[in-house]
Amino acid sequence: MRSLSIVAEGPGKYIHWGVIQISMANLIIIGVMILLFILALVVPFPSHDEPPDEEGEGR
């Protein structure tokens, strides 16, 4: 039960920036999501070396 209560007891760290107030945990999650989004756009997708068919579909 102690391990359960630790989760709820933490007050959490908050960032205050003018009218914006956000918890450190949420800020990190948003940052990771933006990073994942950028990586999804720039990291090449592994593909098979398969010649495209007549309809131009290559996967």
């Binding site: 039960m1 359960l4 709820a8 999650i29 990771v32 999501m33 994942l36 989004f37 990586l39 999804a40 756009l41 990291v43 997708f45 593909s47 495209p52 131009g56 579909e57 290559g58 996967r59």
Partner: protein
């Protein structure tokens, strides 16, 4: 109409007054032939940004499966059982991934204007699905049966009352919130997901903006 085994009545097959025929025709017309589970996709789909839709769907399957396991033991067992604590955490983190994947999917589709090419309803069902998912998650936090749930309910009641929904959606009623969480809202999420997937399969995956300009 009665027929022998292996025999198909021509009248039964083509009778437009037969509601079974009409229903079958409707089902068959939902997606073009061969597009329900295609083995091949257009070449532009070979990008990681196109993976987040199916990742969201996969996370949803885990959310529903872990939620079903949670429901086996009642409404408080995960507080006093190590297995229950594990399954509860599994449910929470699959929801976190579900929303993370869904929001990245949303960003990707927004920036490629995914409503192009008669895909308006695909976009709208996705947005409504996002909103209903938030409601499902909210009622889940209200169903934790702990002080966190009480605090969220006490903080949330004024917001819900301010939009006039408090009369029939009482966040201070844990039993009502639990039933919304495990019956009504998952039903909505399931139906909207089905509609969304059918529309994606019917109209195909949206091409990137530059692909359409080049074409």
């Amino acid at each position: 109409m009665t027929t022998r085994e292996g025999e198909v009545s021509t009248k039964e097959t083509y009778d437009p007054q037969n509601w079974t025929n009409r229903l079958r025709g409707w089902f068959e017309g939902l997606v073009p032939p061969g597009q329900a589970l295609p083995a091949r996709q257009p070449v532009y789909v070979a990008s990681w940004i196109y993976v987040f839709g199916v990742l969201t769907l996969t996370a949803l399957v885990v959310v529903i499966a872990s939620g079903c396991v949670l429901s086996l033991g009642g409404t408080t067992w995960w507080h006093v059982s190590s297995v229950g604590h594990y399954v509860n955490s599994f449910h929470l983190w699959s929801v976190e991934l579900f929303f993370g994947f869904m929001v990245i999917h949303l960003w990707g589709k927004f920036w490629m204007a995914a409503w192009r090419g008669r895909r308006t309803m695909t976009w709208i069902t996705g947005i409504v699905l996002f909103l209903v998912s938030i409601g499902t998650s909210f009622t889940g936090f209200l169903s934790q049966t702990n002080f966190s749930a009480q605090w969220i309910a006490a903080e949330g009641k004024d917001g819900i009352n301010s939009i006039g929904a408090g009369a029939f959606f009482n966040v201070l009623n844990p039993a009502q919130m639990l039933l919304w969480h495990v019956v009504l809202l998952p039903l909505g999420v399931g139906l909207l997901t089905l509609m969304h997937i059918i529309l994606v399969r019917r109209h195909g995956v949206v091409p990137p903006l530059d692909a359409e300009l080049e074409g």
